[in-house]
Amino acid sequence: MAAKSLREIRRAAAAGIGSRRCFSGDAAAAAAAAAGVAEGKVGGGAGKEVNLFTAINQALHIALDTDPRSYVFGEDVGFGGVFRCTTGLADRFGRNRVFNTPLCEQGIAGFAVGLAAMGNRAIAEIQFADYIFPAFDQACLRYRSGNEFNCGGLTIRSPYGAVGHGGHYHSQSPEAFFCHVPGLKVIIPRSPREAKGLLLASIRDPNPVVFFEPKWLYRLAVEEVPEEDYMLPLSEAEVIRKGSDITLIGWGAQLAVLEEACEDTAKDGISCELIDLRTLIPWDKETVEASVSKTGKLLVSHEAPITGGFGAEIAASITERCFQRLEAPVARVCGLDTPFPLVYETFYMPTKNKVLDAIKATVNY
């Protein structure tokens, strides 16, 4: 997780940011209009260098400020939360809009769905993604009520992923479980600027969103983040590095690993195209397909165990769409099929060297 690679990603993000089209969901447009956010102006302004948790914090301030029907709640969020993402919110917006809940994840999720069903923006925090399982069965309302009700105002934020020494219950990446729920959106940002723009878009999206934040990057990732209100588009992948020999796809903290691999292989004359999927469902198949049609090779990488991971879904879809243009089997570099380990975390993880080996094997297939 070299700072260098993060800087690279940062540059790529800064270069691409002006050209992105604005997100334009109904609620988002309304919220943006209310907040005086001009359509088409997506985070173009200059900002300060901040880390990822600060970017999240800014987004939450803006979300509460621009929509009086928005609420932030979860375990210990009142005093700032364990990762400081909610610092200052209770002081500024009061205990009626920013509040601690009891320790009851199923209750938090169910309560959030109810609050959202009444037309509010419920921004709930599950303290660690590993704690989300008791909340599992509280989900989509729109379909089963024939659109009579919906919980579109729901956003559940939760820190996910490895942190170096978290052991089993503070390190997991449960995104694939939620990608199996039609009606939900699953978003994972890779950097502070991305986190702020995607979180604001998620909060204002008229669909329920599960937003996983890479906790490894909360303090580690630092980049310039516009102070203003801006949104980044959901369901739109981003090509953050152009290349011609192989397409690499990842999300969240894994992008930094992939970026390093891209630089290393470039020295060997291999040109990698790197894509940040950003939204896992519904995902941007077109961007990935276009890239794989060009390169003929695909590598997917994520921290979650390989079997049944979201990489499998991408591999299947792209094989279906690009079968005749694929020149090698789709490679997956993922977590091992073991419970998340306390010791030997680095062996479990889809590290740069594993990615490099897989790139070479695929390119030389």
Binding site: F79, N100, P134, G167, V333, L336, D337, V343, F347, A358
Partner: protein, 354 residues
């Protein structure tokens, strides 16, 4: 000296919910009091040492310390046998010691070494001891309680005349799964004792901010309950003895242990943002479980102040020696990453593609 029986009244009366409380008069012996003093002091010293090891980065990840709550682990153990089961959450180091675990395997586990009680694969939150029916440390708030009721079901099914003590905190008391587990246990009259270790803060939130009724011993509604001074080791012993008999004869009971943790919730919590330093020092001065036993020992002339000091010095050395020994233990073999996932020879081997 050892044979002498002492009679002692609990510090405060028991408060009960739909059950007659046990007597406040507790019998003990000089030997038992000295053991209590020693065991609690070892636990205290271990947790303080764990704090230092954590700060020295020898313990990584997540770590929750028990100092302040020692009387619950020690008093409970004195009332039951190792055939009874205990299951708790992530604040589990001292429960492991109480069940007969040794310092070396505790420290080794904390540091992720082979000699650890979970062979270095569990860490702070996942201590286990099968031969003493300690079903462990669990990382998810409240999730261990339904599991504990399953243990109690097995005990009843096997007609073992033993019981399970399922421990949880005041924070976990608001989890829905607790009530599901209570209903099942009451319905089937399982020998389950739900022990709420009420240290008054669920992570950083005071009990009254999180619970409409912080009278946790009454939260079982149709299940009897007993509120106990969890800083009084003799009261804990009396309550657990009573609860075990009750549970085997009649089914579940809730014990609320009024206790206090001196450290923050975990190592990332300084423990002083949501409560005052005065509150913490007040509890230390007035209710500390070890100091209470020290006073009792001195009042009955069971040992001199100097003898107790010597014992503490000896404990300090014992803890230091255990740390040194634990540090000598190697990291688990790298192959351990792939063991204990599936049972070998049943058609599944752990696979890794890369």
């Amino acid at each position: 000296m050892a044979a002498a029986i002492l009679l002692r009244r609990t510090s405060v009366p028991f408060t009960s919910h739909i059950v007659d409380p046990p007597s406040r008069d507790v019998t003990t012996t000089p030997a038992e009091l000295l053991t209590f003093f020693r065991d609690m002091s070892v636990m205290r010293r271990m947790e303080i040492a764990a704090d230092s090891l954590y700060k020295a980065k020898l313990i990584r990840g997540f770590c929750h310390l028990y100092d302040g709550q020692e009387a619950v682990a020690v008093g409970m153990e004195a009332a039951i046998t190792r055939s009874d089961s205990i299951i708790t959450a992530y604040r589990d180091h001292c429960t492991y010691l109480a069940r007969g675990g040794d310092l070396v395997s505790a420290f080794a586990e904390l540091m992720g070494r082979q000699a650890g009680c979970s062979r270095g694969k569990g860490g702070s939150m996942h201590f286990y001891k099968k031969d003493a029916n300690f079903y462990g440390g669990h990382g998810i708030v409240g999730a261990q309680v339904p599991l504990g009721c399953g243990l109690a079901f097995a005990q009843k099914y096997r007609k073992e005349e033993t019981a399970t003590f399922a421990l949880y905190g005041d924070g976990a008391a608001n989890q829905g799964q607790l009530f599901e587990a209570l209903n099942i246990s009451a319905l089937w009259k399982l020998p389950a004792i739900l022990v709420c270790e009420n240290n008054h803060y669920g992570m950083g939130t005071a009990e009254w901010r999180a619970a409409k009724s912080p009278a946790y011993y009454k939260r079982g509604d149709y299940v009897p309950g007993l509120k106990v001074d969890g800083m009084d080791v003799l009261a804990v012993k009396q309550a657990c003895k009573f609860a075990k008999e009750h549970a085997i004869a009649n089914g579940p009971i809730v014990l609320e242990m009024d206790t206090y943790r001196y450290h923050g919730h975990s190592m990332s919590d300084p423990g002083s943002t949501y409560r005052t330093r005065d509150e913490i020092s007040g509890v230390r001065q007035e209710r500390d479980p070890i100091e209470r036993v020290r006073k009792l020992i001195l009042a009955h002339d069971l040992a001199t102040a100097a003898e107790l000091k010597d014992m503490e010095k000896e404990i300090r050395k014992e803890v230091d020696d255990a740390i040194a020994k634990a540090k000598e233990s190697p990291m688990p073999d790298t192959s351990e990453l792939f063991t204990n996932v599936y049972v070998k020879g049943f058609g599944v081997e752990v696979s890794s593609e890369v």
